[in-house]
Amino acid sequence: MVPITLQVNGQEVKAEIAIHERLLDFLRNELKLLGAKEGCGHGECGTCTVIMDGQVVNSCLILAVQAHGANITTIEGLGNTEELHPLQESFIEHGAVQCGYCTPGMILSAKNLLDKNPHPTRKEIQRSISGNLCRCTGYQKIVEAIEAVAEGRKGR
């Protein structure tokens, strides 16, 4: 067991964890942050996406010990019960959510893009979510939802 300290959604978390535990399992099983999910365990589907130190990563491909000292944002760290994040609102408004299994990862990839590049082109949007597979929507409405936020048609 190894002690780690990290920031998760703005709060300090201290834990003793097994060396071989994946960050995804730590978030889900220890912190009960269930928004990140496992779809493939191979870093292909992106439904386990979280933002770690300002970068989107697959939490299924990181050992939790490697996140010591890191600053992590999960979907639970976006918006709050009173007010949704503009991307969350836009996803609902544009019908970008069907089954919802890819949605948390998708929104985090989009957030990370807009944080770095507030006015991306359609191509840049598509590339930014190319590590997040979706089988329901055909991506079109997801791209539209992100575009709407980028163009300021939605929220702040």
């Binding site: 870093g43 970068q55 491909l61 590590g131």
Partner: protein, 288 residues
């Protein structure tokens, strides 16, 4: 083994090298290959040496030589201003790796030591005549990247040895490169075949002064097409022996069947992308 597993995350290379002398350790950096290969059996990794906290092994130095330190991520390589401007084909190759998530974690060193014949960085780096700096204990050795690979998943890297950096000379101004990869879709695709061509034109702009060609996924290791290079060395741009070059290239590669494609397809399409890469590199060279 599992119970006794230890975790080391040194902040200095020397410390890491010492630990490797003392313990039986699995080395992890970005983890994007290691955790996939060991899916559902992570405890079997045993004790872990996590390199990701060694800051000295991160980043790119540009001077008389270019040093890409082992922990440089694909995203950093792709976005590096000098690389983007001077070696766009290398930046492009980094941008072809996996997904944004994988590019943010996966490292240049990892891409190399994993020794996949399909590694995206190998062909452009070999075409740049890159060398790798390997260190074990106090001993350092420098190996041509071309000679680093021994077979799928196998390299000259010894137990306890670490890849520290990849180093190459910046090509002259009249040189230009091109990397082309064939994958089944536009993102998250593993190369079925790939090629990097680096061409340097003579001062008069008419002849090829120097050329290096390296292909991925068409043999057990990335393949440098030396005979094809020899044919094209000194060839006149106006009268390129393309057909002959393709014929020689075909004999230099040794593709196999796998889940992504047949040997025959690889053989045929490698010639196409080689030809295209050469023409594009020549066109880029002209612009500069």
């Amino acid at each position: 083994m599992e119970k006794k597993a230890q975790y080391f995350a040194p902040s200095a290379l020397e410390e890491a090298l010492k630990l490797l002398q003392k313990h039986q350790l699995t080395v992890i950096a970005g983890g994007t290959d290691l955790l996939v290969q060991n899916y559902e059996k992570l405890p079997a990794l045993g004790s872990i040496l996590d390199m990701s906290r060694i800051d000295a092994l991160k980043g790119i130095e540009v001077g008389k030589e270019v040093s890409i330190y082992t922990l440089t991520t694909h995203a950093q390589l792709e976005a590096h201003p000098w690389i983007k401007e001077k070696l766009p084909f290398l930046a492009a190759a980094a941008g072809e790796v996996g997904s944004p998530q994988v590019r943010n974690r996966g490292t240049a060193g990892g891409n190399i030591v994993n020794a996949s014949p399909a590694a995206d960085l190998a062909p452009p780096l070999i075409s740049l005549d890159a060398r790798v700096f390997l260190q074990k204990g106090n001993e350092e050795r420098i190996i041509n990247l071309e000679d680093f690979f021994l077979g799928p998943g196998q390299s000259v890297l010894e137990k306890g040895e670490l890849l520290v950096k990849v180093v190459f000379k910046p090509p002259p101004a009249r040189a230009a490169g091109c990397y082309i990869k064939i994958g089944q879709r536009k993102a998250q695709a593993i190369a079925i075949t790939s090629v990097a061509v680096l061409v340097e034109m003579a001062a008069d702009g008419k002849e090829i002064a120097d050329i290096r060609i390296c292909l991925g996924s068409v043999g057990p290791v990335p393949i440098r097409a030396r005979k094809t290079e020899a044919l094209l060395q000194g060839a006149s741009r106006a009268n390129l022996p393309l057909k002959e070059a393709c014929r020689i290239l075909e004999a230099e590669i040794a593709p196999m069947d796998d889940i992504r494609g047949t040997a025959w397809y690889r053989q045929q399409v490698s010639k196409t992308i080689f030809r295209r890469a050469l023409m594009q590199a020549l066109a880029h060279g002209e612009v500069r």
